[in-house]
Amino acid sequence: MHGQPGAGNLRERDRTLPGDPGVFFFITADMAMFAVFFLLFMVGQFQDPEGYRASRAALDPVLGLTNTLILVFSGWWMVRAVEAGREGDWRHARTRVLAAMLFGSAFALTKGYEYYAKVSAGVTLTSSEFFGYYFAFTGIHFLHFVLGIGVLAVTVGKLAKPEGAKTLVWLESAAAYWHMVDLLWMVLFPMLYLAGGTA
């Protein structure tokens, strides 16, 4: 099934990209937005290093690390789902996307617990500039995560009735989006939790 250029309504020149070019456009635009967020944070940190360090000390990097490992592990299931899809092995592709969803969902638990712990300790997005950014950035990232879980759920549905190259492009695109959620966290984690020091 795989590697058939021009199958269905696919445009041939796009086949080399691992996914739909429109999805990659979306990913690029989204990542550009996050680059602006990183800049805002670093400028704020430059203006008030001690304030940021004091706030950072209240974060639990173990939770941040846990979420990093969860997303990486979930992303790996997605890679293996794409590998199966490229072989035309839709059954394995489907179970692996399900695994990616299942393990990825743990991110929501950890993040939910982290938000709960912060809010019940009286730390909210108006507590300090640092926490304003922390809640805003991780919140927007979480929204991307929730959208991603939705996309994976649709992907599971599509893999139950595969339509060849069309389904492969969908699978690859969903995977690319899911990896972006992963990738953005790879930068958010050190920026918020690790680098810059604590006080």
Binding site: L17, P18, E83, G197
Partner: protein, 108 residues
């Protein structure tokens, strides 16, 4: 392209790098070097995800060059932002020479 071992090796590398940067920050006193190391590790992880997980290669224009540029820009933003911060001198560096206290900011 990367087979099953390729993606599994990538997973292990990503996990090891994540734990590594966490341990580095937890065990070392906060310093610019540690901060920059954490950022560098993050960029390596991000490029592994782009190349080994998303299977993006240079020939995938314009997205591969754009996302590579994104990595560079983010590296400059985070690295530059950390360099601009005031850092306390690590304890093993002499803090006073000839009774004059050195300005910690320039030690980095």
């Amino acid at each position: 392209m990367s087979g099953r071992f390729g993606s599994t090796a990538t997973l292990l590398a990503l996990a090891a790098l994540s734990v590594g940067s966490f341990l580095l920050v937890e065990t070392e006193a906060a310093s610019l070097v540690v901060g920059l190391a954490a950022v560098a590790i993050a960029l390596v992880k991000a490029s592994l995800i782009l190349n080994r997980f998303m299977h993006l290669e240079w020939r995938h224009r314009p997205f591969a060059p754009l996302l590579l540029a994104w990595l560079g820009i983010v590296g400059v933003i985070l690295g530059g932002g950390l360099c601009a911060l005031p850092w306390k001198a690590p304890t093993h560096i002499p803090v006073a020479v000839n009774d004059r206290t050195l300005p910690f900011e320039i030690i980095k």
